[in-house]
């Protein structure tokens, strides 16, 4: 709060407010927004966190609701995949090589990397991190052993050829063994003073409402630590965080801002920008394929053809999302897409006439009232369940319901609390729902979760992916082939076949590529990623965030 503002405030309160007595004096922390080079050099990069009303001093990366920046600025990974450009940046490792049989990968660590306490990063740290990760969080079933060789080489051995491992192990935050092995309960330790290899590791002025991370004194690329520190602000929702962004109080606004051109950009066109690349996960309409008529591929394709994706993205997502195509792949897999499938796409394009024909052919005739009936004579109607708090997806569901009315299918939008919705998805007790999908550097997981038989659980048994319960043995064979193949160009051939299979089977109804929200204000810092320079996305929770943190510099 600035001094004049305080004086006005004091005058105002003295004039009539009973609380005026509280206003004895004000402080003079400068409001960000100046263009003074000296002030910018010492300023903290200010970022809001919109879904944590308050912070607790807990920098444990194993915490389920991990504090912001723990995996972005404090700890680093071996490599970084950038979905905006589709490239992989070597980070703590300079090089990696998969064995010819696909059953191991060896990483070579970068020389001269130190932890923030001055100890060197060694291969033992990497091996220990995976041991700890497996013990605390589980997963990594394919990973047999992690062997450190000397100080700078580490080999991951798998129990089967497993190429998706590269990004899986490559993007895990590496922890210092000399700190974590000394803890009695590493999974329950608050890790209040973290020691990491990242650019900003030193926790400062920690409060429930904000905290600061200052420069790591031993960072391995000191020439890239151009900002003085990062300041995180806690907000209990998008509204507060958006207000701070609009007011110019934060430099980076990674949350969803409605009508961004008008509410945010127009206040200062020279300095405020946004970029929403379609690198989020694919948002799908999942039809429970254990139920008739959703077990019929023609029905799934017909329903998909009746959906107006232009309208869905325009109304539901304010025009920021990109409609899906028949590959089912979101914008983060642009380099993987099979052009033949993409260019000859039929069932993800709006075609009401074709949808009607397909439904007639499949045996769901339209009655005299224009409404279709199922084979047992009951009306063709079902529900879409979406959590009540997701207003954007609710509008998507409503648009779908309107679209389907045109082909004689009645869709009811059900919106209880997300807990109830997800409980239905997990046990298979639902008709259809709108669900996000796995988002990974390689498309393996997406196809495995959408049509691999290994992910299909019987109705009544809980599952956490493949809610629509669709398995395709032909896809299984391709998936196994993909996992065993280490050569990326050969992987691409297999991925092309997977997309053909997806195109034939239509396991679910892809709607649109989720946008990755991101806006910034370059009054104080420059060097932001943009559509023309997509070296990272504007997300503050992705592995690429550290690339932004090491590129930004104070405006001179």
């Amino acid at each position: 709060m600035t001094q004049p503002r305080f004086l006005r405030a004091a005058r105002m309160t003295a004039a009539g407010l009973a609380v005026g007595a509280l206003l004895l004096t004000g402080c003079a922390a400068n409001k960000p927004g100046g263009t003074d080079a000296a002030a910018n050099a010492s300023a903290f990069l200010t970022i809001p966190r919109e879904d944590m009303g308050t912070f607790v001093q807990n920098f444990n990366p194993f915490a389920p609701a991990v504090n912001p920046m723990v995996q972005q600025s404090i700890y680093e990974s071996l490599l970084i995949f950038n979905p905006a450009k589709g490239d992989t940046v070597p980070w703590l490792a300079t090089d990696w090589k998969a064995a010819d049989d696909g059953k191991s990968i060896t990483f070579t660590l970068r020389d001269g990397v130190k932890w923030s306490d001055g100890q060197p990063l060694v291969a033992e740290d990497v091996a220990y991190t995976f041991e700890l990760q497996k013990k605390i969080k589980g997963g990594y079933d394919y990973l047999d052993t992690v062997a450190a060789e000397g100080t700078n080489k580490v080999t991951f051995n798998f129990n089967k050829p497993w190429s998706p491992a590269l990004y899986d192990v490559g993007q895990l935050s590496i922890l210092p063994k000399h700190i974590w092995s000394a803890l009695a309960d590493p999974d329950k330790d608050a890790n209040a003073k973290p020691v990491g290899t990242g650019p900003y590791t030193e926790v400062d002025s920690f409060q429930a409402q904000s905290f600061v991370l200052k420069k790591n004194p031993n960072y391995w690329q000191p020439e890239k630590q151009k900002i003085a520190g990062i300041k995180m602000l806690a907000f209990a929702g998008n509204d507060g965080a958006n207000l701070a962004a609009v007011n110019g109080d934060v430099d980076w606004a990674p949350q969803y801002i409605p009508n961004i051109e008008k509410t945010f950009i127009s206040k200062d066109k020279d300095h405020r920008h946004y970029w929403f690349p379609a690198t989020g996960s694919m948002i799908n309409w999942q039809l429970n394929t254990t139920k008739a008529p959703f077990n019929d591929v023609d029905v799934r394709k017909a329903l998909s053809m009746a959906v107006d994706r232009e309208q869905v993205t325009k109304i539901g997502m304010s025009g920021y999302a990109k409609p899906a195509d028949c590959t089912g792949l979101s914008g983060s897999y642009e380099t993987w897409k099979n052009d033949a499938v993409k260019d000859n796409c039929t069932w993800t394009k709006l075609d009401v006439q074709k949808a009607n024909e397909l439904l007639d052919k499949a045996g769901y005739p339209k009655g005299a009232d224009g409404k279709r009936t199922l084979k047992d004579g009951k009306p063709f109607e079902f529900e879409i369940s979406v959590g009540a708090t997701s207003s954007d997806w609710l509008s998507v569901a409503n648009v779908i319901a309107q679209n389907l009315a045109e082909v004689g299918v009645t869709v009811k939008v059900e919106s209880p609390d997300w807990a109830a919705v997800v409980a239905g998805y997990e046990t298979g007790d639902f008709d259809s729902g709108i669900v996000w999908s796995a988002n990974d550097p390689s498309p393996y997981k997406y196809f495995n979760n959408s049509m691999g038989t290994t992910t299909v659980k019987p109705v009544g048994t809980k599952t956490f992916d493949n809610y629509h319960r669709f398995g395709d043995p032909q896809a299984d064979a391709l998936l196994a082939e993909f996992a065993a193949e280490a050569d990326e160009s050969k992987q691409k051939d297999i991925a092309n076949k997977l997309q053909e299979e997806y195109n034939d089977a239509a396991p679910l109804v892809p709607l649109f590529s989720g946008p990755e929200w991101g806006a910034f204000n370059d009054t104080r810092f420059t060097g932001w990623p943009t559509e023309d320079n997509p070296y990272a996305t504007l997300s503050v929770r992705s592995p690429t965030t550290v690339l932004v943190l090491t590129t930004l510099e104070p405006r001179k």
């Binding site: 709060m1 503002r5 305080f6 006005r8 405030a9 105002m12 309160t13 407010l17 009973a18 609380v19 509280l22 206003l23 004895l24 004096t25 004000g26 402080c27 922390a29 009303g53 308050t54 607790v56 807990n58 915490a63 389920p64 609701a65 605390i136 969080k137 589980g138 997963g139 079933d141 999974d187 329950k188 608050a190 002025s205 409060q207 429930a208 409402q209 904000s210 300041k231 602000l233 806690a234 907000f235 209990a236 929702g237 509204d239 507060g240 207000l243 701070a244 007011n247 609390d417 997300w418 807990a419 109830a420 997800v422 409980a423 997990e426 996000w436 988002n439 599952t463 956490f464 929770r541």
Partner: protein, 325 residues
């Protein structure tokens, strides 16, 4: 004394009932915290980690009775467990680091609203049909009937963003070191104005009307006429004779209000990003964070019951009729 003991027994039963409900309610809600967390994290969490997380967080399928005895044991030994949504931070730490701000905000707003509302009510009843009596109640009821969220956002936008008079978020300027310095107290005070003011605005009408109505009833009592006949000063009659007796319902409301302060002004904290426990409670419910929910509910229950108990004791002093009952 017997009266107080009887009340105490009643409060113990109420306490037991509420902690039991507190235990049962979240367990009847659909879903469990881990799949909740999974759903909220969207694609950032691996499905194969769910089992490990269940084990880590102690979300288990033990018989309810066993969980219940554990729960009671924990309550009476002061261990409220570890928060799930803020894992691995203990519940007591999550609550204690924020409850101070909630008490400050809620307490300030409650005291100002109660004092101002009661004074206005006394004045309105005393000058029945006067300017205060005819203009203020409808106006305050009008303001009080706005959706709070809307009013708070409006105030925030007008006084914070457009006029730039008050800070628009948090309990004090970020980066300022908390301490008992004039600088910090002033800064925290400035940050308190808007959130407290909006709560006062919506609640003061209720206090005023309540007080006004009991005052009117009291004013027609014989002892007021008697006091007037004795020629006492009107101010003395108004405050010592009428207001003092009309005060009783307000004391009860104040006690209740005091208890509920602990629960936090949820919407206020959301709008003004105030670092209190109200938003934490919302978060806990959304994340099915049983331990944190239970910790917060327990604190609220205890505070409400304690406040009521104190009001009961105070009543014995204020109203002799209670004693003979």
């Amino acid at each position: 004394m017997r009266f107080i003991l009887r009340r105490l027994g009643f409060y113990l039963i109420a306490f037991w009932a509420s902690i039991t409900l507190n235990f049962l309610l979240p367990r009847f809600m659909p879903g469990d915290p881990v799949s909740r967390m999974f759903a909220r994290s969207q694609d950032r969490m691996q499905p194969e980690q769910i089992e490990a997380l269940r084990k880590l967080l102690g979300v288990d399928d033990r018989p309810l009775l066993e969980q219940y005895t554990d729960y009671l044991h924990n309550i009476f030994t002061g261990q409220m467990g570890v928060s799930i949504s803020r894992f691995p931070t203990p519940v007591t730490e999550v609550i204690s680091s924020q409850i101070g701000w909630t008490l400050l905000l809620g307490g300030t707003a409650l005291v100002i609203a109660a004092v101002a509302g009661n004074l206005l009510g006394i004045l309105a009843a005393w000058r029945r049909g006067g300017a205060i009596d005819s203009a203020l109640p409808p106006l305050l009821v009008f303001i009080g009937s706005f959706p709070y969220f809307w009013l708070a956002m409006g105030a925030l936008y007008l006084f914070g963003v457009v006029l730039n008079w008050f800070p628009i978020r948090h309990a004090f300027t970020d980066g300022l070191e908390p301490g008992f310095t004039w600088e910090f107290i002033g800064d925290a005070g400035a940050h308190l104005v808007l959130p407290a003011l909006t709560i006062v605005l919506v609640s003061v009408g209720g206090w005023m009307l309540g007080m006004r109505n009991t005052m009117i009833a009291t004013n027609s009592e014989d002892y007021i006429t008697m006091a007037e006949a004795k020629g006492l000063r009107p101010g003395r009659i108004m405050l010592r004779y009428a207001a003092r007796n009309a005060m009783l319902p307000s004391v009860t409301s104040f006690g209740m209000g005091l208890g509920f302060v602990v629960g936090g002004a949820l919407l206020t904290e959301v709008v003004f990003a105030y670092p209190g426990v109200g938003y934490q409670l919302l978060n806990a419910v959304q994340g099915l964070d049983y331990p944190l929910m239970q910790g917060l509910f327990l604190t609220i229950t205890a505070a409400v019951l304690l406040a009521n108990f104190l009001v009961d004791i105070l009543y014995v002093r204020l109203d002799p009729r209670v004693r003979s009952n």
